[in-house]
């Protein structure tokens, strides 16, 4: 096997199960790459090397002993540092929780370990997941691997997850997504990842930003890996009362490569029209590629999307303030000032604002449902821009100037607000060599169709297979 560190999770699981490579070799190769590259990439907060090697040796013994293996046996995993991990610090990217060591794993961490995955460590993130740029003054700003000359944003808040997967430090990472925090780093780092339907995956043991907007999901390098990992994570969990009792389908079985008759609604107004020229062109080309592969593409609009910013602000600011209120009374100085000022502003959002936001949310959900009544998926850019420089603050979108933060979450946040599943995947590169991401949005709990379309697209394109050039 030439390069274990850029093998897919699906391929690694197959090679391990067939005894062509050992989990020890796989884990060691990834740990070596972390040692070699992460000093400058800053994607990890904690590397759990000893525990990972011990788990790898156990996994190797299981293979040798002919024991039953999980679908992801021996495959390395990185976790955004807001997933509780027994015995490993879980900081939320903060100074406040720097010494916090959970005694139990989050539900999805436990499920992925049971599926055979080996946790290599905890990944950098925006403090308490409150921001889309990927900056973190406590642990360093994770560096987008697609530009070695300029320090560019990885996207956030799951910044370390995006960098680690793109740089071949892990084949799979978990992120969380409250306004786009899985899909934004996927878009900026050239990855495939899914924000599942609200209620599809347990949030138990995951530090919250906004309980009703938070979603957790995998970030990988292709749709098949995303499907494999999602299948191992999803499903009802008594520890998270918002999880659905609906059975989890076989997402891998859904990857037929067949797009004939699939109805795709291209979101032009606000979504495509708001994107930078090269992003717009790449997504339009992707729509044509889907059409050529047998899909039926038309255009559709979500007029209410312009009110999402206000509605989501009311909900997120209030819920985040509620979680942080005690620390904002006693430990303000320990926050990144950029995070604490926005959290503090939540104290001035009223109860009426919050309920109005929830009313707006009902409208938005209905609107997305209506758009999907006669379509299988919606297609839009994931972010309207490619990765900005780490200190950039302003940009120009297709419909005018915008601050970077608003621009990054503009196209992803509507589907946190509505709760629909949305997958980000690469669909091109800008003239300066930076990845461009698109998103596919599906009906509630129909991740299978979203992943089927993403996988079929990746069978006829190779954007997802390109790799950054690293030292």
């Amino acid at each position: 096997m030439a390069d274990l560190t850029y093998a897919s999770a699906t391929e690694l699981a197959r090679l391990i199960a067939s005894k062509q490579v050992s989990p020890v070799e796989v884990v060691r190769a990834h740990l070596d790459r972390i040692t070699s590259l992460d000093g400058s990439l800053k994607s990890f907060i904690t590397v759990a090397a000893d525990a990972a090697m011990a788990a790898a040796r156990e996994a190797e013994a299981a293979v040798a002993g002919g024991r039953p293996l999980g679908p992801l046996h021996g495959v390395p995993l990185g976790l955004k540092d807001l997933y509780d991990t027994a015995g490993i610090p879980t900081t939320g990217g903060s100074k406040i929780l720097a010494q916090r060591v959970p005694t139990a794993d989050a539900t999805v961490v436990r499920r992925l370990r049971e599926a055979g995955m080996i946790v290599l460590g905890k990944l950098n993130m925006v403090e308490f997941a409150y921001g889309p740029e990927g900056r973190n003054p406590h642990y360093g700003h994770a560096r987008n691997p697609w530009d070695v000359a300029t320090h560019r944003m990885a996207g956030g808040s799951s910044s370390g997850s995006g960098v680690a997967v793109a740089a071949g430090l892990v084949p799979v990472a978990l992120g969380s997504d409250t306004g786009g925090s899985i899909r934004i780093p996927c878009s900026l780092c050239g990855l495939t990842g899914i924000k599942p339907t609200y209620g599809r995956v347990s949030r138990a043991g995951v530090l919250p930003l906004s309980w009703s907007m938070d979603h957790v999901g995998p970030m990988t390098r292709n749709a098949a890996d995303t499907a494999l990992v999602l299948g191992a994570m999803a499903g009802y969990d008594a520890a998270d009362p918002t999880t659905s009792v609906l059975p989890v389908p076989d997402y891998m079985a859904a990857l037929t490569g067949d797009l004939r008759g699939v109805r795709v609604g291209l979101l032009r107004s606000f979504f495509l029209d708001g994107a930078a020229t090269d992003v717009r062109a790449a997504v339009e080309t992707a729509a044509r590629a889907l059409e050529k592969a047998g899909a039926v593409v038309d255009e559709v609009a979500l007029p209410g999307v312009r009110h999402v910013a206000a509605g989501a602000l009311a909900v997120v600011a209030t819920e985040a303030m509620t979680y942080h209120a005690a620390w904002l009374r006693t430990r303000r100085g320990d926050y990144d000032p950029d995070v604490s000022t926005r959290l503090m502003a939540g104290a001035f959002v009223t109860g009426v604002h919050y309920v109005r936001g929830q009313q707006a949310r009902a409208l938005m959900r209905r609107e997305v449902d209506d758009a999907l009544a006669r379509r299988d998926v919606l297609l839009a850019p994931a972010t309207p821009i490619t990765a900005p420089g780490i200190d950039e603050r302003q940009t120009t979108l297709g419909d005018g100037p915008s601050d970077i933060r608003s621009a990054l979450i503009r196209l992803t946040r509507p589907f946190n607000f509505s709760g629909h599943p949305a997958c980000s995947l690469p669909c091109g590169f800008s003239s300066d060599g930076l990845p461009i991401g698109m998103q596919l949005v599906g009906r509630p709990f129909d991740e299978a169709t979203v992943l089927r379309v993403a996988d079929a697209y990746q069978r006829v394109t190779d954007w997802h297979a390109r790799r950054p050039v690293l030292a």
Binding site: P241, A310, L313, A314, A345, R356, Q359, G419
Partner: protein, 60 residues
């Protein structure tokens, strides 16, 4: 529609909410509070009179 907020109003609101933040801290967050309230005022333009707020997130 949203009016500029002076420091006294900000201080009083913060204290009602249980926060004893200093005047310097309140001045630092005043621009973002004003900007947030401007954005939130947009919610009043929506036809929400007959819309039940979302209270149940488990979609199925």
């Amino acid at each position: 529609m949203s009016q500029p907020i002076d420091l006294a109003a900000l201080r009083a609101s913060a204290r009602l909410a249980g926060f004893d933040w200093s005047d310097a801290e309140l001045e630092a967050i005043r621009p973002i509070v004003e900007a947030s309230l401007r954005v939130l005022s947009g919610l009043e333009q929506l036809p929400l009179a007959d819309v039940e707020p979302t209270t149940q997130y488990r979609m199925l």
